[in-house]
Structure formats: structure tokens, C-alpha cells
């Protein structure tokens, strides 16, 4: 299967890449290509131009900004999974990256690419939501920051404009008492393949109770979303198993759960509750 013919542009700098996007509204950005190329091969997508950002210097780094960490546009899932910095401040994202695709996909696919592709069942967008990540989008008119909570708009649709490139994901650093986790059921069982249901959680404990929580659910609806009801039920509780399970029972509040090949509405609702409880317990354990 070949993609349809396209013009291939290999900019050496970000400005050249952004100029190419401005000049060609039908252009698509190629980084790892693990989502874009299969879509082009299946001819679900036939862009007139492909702008390969794979050789732009400086985009392949995970950097420490002091109060946050940045994951550049070319950082692969493997690199996110293995990063000590991501593990320390965003364990949910490191775990989600380690369960994305398979080993070959993780070696090429990028964390930023997973965000902009915005698959309904992708792992890492849920982690970005739970960690309160900020998406940094560059265009020829400058950069803008988009909160993860505003980034995932609909199925396969992010808030990124066609002339923008997601150059980095910024994750706030966390201190003692805060922990995060991600858990899911994969379509091929265990943690393998896209999430039938997946839940990412960040929690903070202080003085014996839960003082802050964010919970994001992926796989069950039309996009990954924050579920405030679970977080609200956790905050102020003692974090006991009973409190966690009561909170997790609300895992699909506000979500229109969609039936698909992998499960009925009832089954996916149940899974979201089970994995919400597991992820909250794991996050609480790491926050202790």
C-alpha cells in the first residue's frame, strides 16, 4: 500500500517548517509517522504536502525548566518511558508511554504526535490531562500555550490549528506528597494495544487526607476527558479503599460512553470504574 503522491519538504529549522505550513493549508506534519503514515497508506488521508520535522535540531530533548519539564516534539514514546525526569514528575505519562503501541511503534512514535493525533483510545492524552500539562503550539505568528484540558476537542481532533506545530508538552514539577499513575485494559489484553478503558490520576496527600486530585478517563467516549466528580469525591477523604471505590464509581460521570467492537456501554462503564480505582490506589501509594 502506497500513500498517494505528495510533495515532501524537509525543513532544517522550525521557521522554515512553519512557513511551509502557512503556504500550504493542505500540508501535514510528519514526526514519527506512526499515526500519519498508516492513515496515508490506507488513504484515509492524502495530504498534498508532508512537512518532515524529523531533523529539526532541539526538538528531541526532555528538558528541566526548573519548575516544569518539557518534552519536545521529536521525543519518542520509548524515551518518555525511560526518562527519569518524567518518571519523577509524571509517572502516569511514563507508564502510558511504556504501554503505547508495541516496541517498534514506541521507537518511532512521539509523545507530542500522540497528543495531536488525539485518538479516542490513546493512553498518553489521559496522562497529560491528569498531570495538568500545557501544550506549546508554534506558528509563524508566535507561540501559544493551550491547557491540556482545552486541547482534546473531539474524536481525532485537537485544538491545534493547521498552521501550528506542537513543539513541546510542559508538565509541572511535583513535590513530596504528590504521585500519579495510569492503568488500563488494552484491546489485546493486559496493557497491550489501545485502551478499551484507561484512567490516569494525580493525587496529593497532606496531613493524612487527599488534598488535591485530578482524574482523566480515555477509551470510553469520544475523547479523553477530566472527570471532576471522581476528583471532588477524593479530595478531603482519607484515601481509604472504601473512599477510593466510592469515588471511582463516578468514573464516567459526564461522559457519553460509546459502544464499539471492544465492549458494550455497560462493560466499558464498569471497566472505567475498575481502572479508576486501581489508578487512584496506585497514585496514592506513590504519593505516600
Amino acid at each position: 500500500m502506497y500513500p498517494r503522491p505528495f510533495e515532501y519538504v524537509l525543513p532544517s529549522g522550525l521557521d522554515d517548517a512553519l512557513d511551509a505550513l502557512d503556504a500550504n493549508p493542505g500540508a501535514k506534519v510528519l514526526a514519527g509517522g506512526m499515526s500519519l503514515l498508516p492513515m496515508m497508506k490506507m488513504r484515509l488521508l492524502s495530504p498534498e504536502m508532508v512537512v518532515d520535522i524529523g531533523r529539526i535540531a532541539g526538538l528531541d530533548q526532555i528538558t528541566d525548566n526548573g519548575d516544569s519539564i518539557s518534552i519536545g516534539a521529536l521525543v519518542t514514546h520509548s524515551e518518555v518511558a525511560a526518562s527519569g525526569l518524567v518518571g519523577e514528575h509524571g509517572a502516569a505519562l511514563a507508564t502510558a508511554a511504556s504501554w503505547t503501541g508495541d516496541r517498534q511503534v514506541r521507537n518511532r512514535g512521539t509523545c507530542c504526535g500522540s497528543m495531536v493525533h488525539a485518538d479516542v483510545a490513546a493512553d498518553q492524552p489521559a496522562a497529560a490531562l491528569a498531570l495538568g500539562a500545557t501544550m506549546v503550539a508554534a506558528s509563524s505568528s508566535g507561540t501559544r500555550e493551550i491547557a491540556a484540558a482545552d486541547f482534546f476537542v473531539d474524536t481525532l481532533m485537537s485544538a491545534l490549528e493547521p498552521n501550528e506545530i506542537l513543539t513541546e508538552i510542559r508538565i509541572p514539577k511535583v513535590g513530596a506528597g504528590t504521585g500519579s499513575a495510569y492503568d488500563k485494559l488494552g484491546r489485546r489484553g493486559g496493557h497491550t494495544d489501545y485502551a478499551v478503558a484507561g484512567v490516569a490520576v494525580s493525587v496529593t496527600r497532606s496531613n493524612g487526607s487527599v488534598s488535591a486530585a485530578t482524574v482523566a478517563v480515555t477509551g470510553v467516549g469520544n475523547r479523553p476527558v477530566l472527570v471532576g466528580e471522581v476528583a471532588d469525591a477524593l479530595v478531603g477523604s482519607d484515601g481509604s479503599d472504601a473512599a477510593v471505590e466510592a469515588a471511582a464509581a463516578q468514573a464516567t460521570c459526564g461522559i457519553e460512553v460509546l459502544e464499539d467492537l471492544y465492549g458494550s456501554v455497560d462493560y466499558k462503564t464498569h471497566l472505567a470504574q475498575v481502572f479508576a480505582a486501581r489508578a487512584v490506589k496506585a497514585a496514592l501509594a506513590s504519593a505516600a
Binding site: M1, P5, Y8, M34, D52, G54, R103, Q104, R108
Partner: protein, 165 residues
């Protein structure tokens, strides 16, 4: 457009369309048909090669993206008529039946053992999660990779299961 890369230790270059996939460049321009085209949708792993030391899917990558890369395909493993320990393991432990998945499975195993010279059975199974085999049930493939790992560490491989029976 012209693309150049190192394939199995040899510097090669050739003409490719922008849409030419790396697997087609390897098979059709270079005649290296050991790398197989399987599912074409990045699920089966039959097209797996080593690119700069990492297992990647050559069917889900443009030849242009591999410009300047250092590639090893299954043809590059045997040296001076001696099979690579992973190839020997697949032979000794019956790690294949129809053979279609084998080149990708072997390249996946080679890169896995380079990254982790002493993987547990679980790590081996996880390491080949991106390679589908519809014949063997994977059991003998795992045994083959354990055999190869032992050989590469300079150890004597455990006897085949059927020798203990």
C-alpha cells in the same frame, strides 16, 4: 529524490519517490527481499529492521526518513557463513513453521538482546509483542531467543524441552 544509507555495512544510494516506503526501497531497489511486507498497517512486525540499533517498522517509514541511517536487515546477520546466534536459536529450537514472520521476529529479537542481554521470559514475550506469528504459538520463539541470549553471553544454552521429556 536521492536517498543514501548504510545497509548491512554497505553504503548504498538510490532514487526514491517521496512516498516510497523504506521496505519497498530495501526490497525493490536494493533487492533485499528478506524483509517481509505483512499487514501493511503497523501491527504485524514482519517488516521489522534495525535502524540505528532500534527495532522499527520499515513499512511505516518513508525511505526519505531513513536517509543517512545505519540499517541492518536479516541479510546482514550471518557473518562469514556463520549464522547469527538468534538465527541459530530459531534453527535449534524450531522457532518457525511457515517462516513468514521470521525475518521480523529475528530482527526484533536481535535488537531486544542488544538492549537487554539477559531478558526474562516475560521480557522476551513483551519484547516481541509487536511481532505476530500465526503458526508457532510463540513458545518455541521464546525458547529460540533464550537460546540465543545464552550463546551471546557465552553460556551453554539450556537443553531443548523435548530432550528432557
Amino acid at each position: 529524490m536521492k536517498v543514501s544509507m548504510s545497509v548491512n555495512g554497505r553504503q548504498v544510494s538510490g532514487e526514491a519517490e517521496p512516498r516510497t516506503l523504506l521496505v519497498h526501497f530495501l526490497r525493490e531497489s536494493l533487492g533485499l527481499t528478506g524483509t517481509h511486507v505483512g499487514c501493511e498497517s503497523s501491527y504485524c512486525g514482519a517488516c521489522t529492521i534495525s535502524l540505528d540499533g532500534k527495532a522499527v517498522l520499515s513499512c511505516t517509514m518513508l525511505a526519505a526518513q531513513a536517509d543517512g541511517a545505519d540499517i541492518t536487515t536479516v541479510e546482514g546477520l550471518a557473518q562469514d557463513g556463520e549464522l547469527h546466534p538468534v538465527q541459530e536459536g530459531f534453527w535449534e529450537r524450531h522457532g518457525l513453521q511457515c517462516g513468514f514472520c521470521t525475518p521480523g521476529m529475528i530482527m526484533s529479537a536481535v535488537t531486544l538482546l542488544e538492549e537487554n542481554p539477559e531478558p526474562s521470559e516475560e521480557e522476551i514475550r513483551r519484547g516481541i509483542e509487536g511481532n505476530l506469528c500465526r503458526c508457532t504459538g510463540y513458545h518455541n520463539i521464546v525458547q529460540a531467543i533464550e537460546y540465543a541470549g545464552a550463546r551471546m553471553r557465552g553460556e551453554e544454552p539450556a537443553p531443548a524441552e523435548w530432550e528432557n521429556a
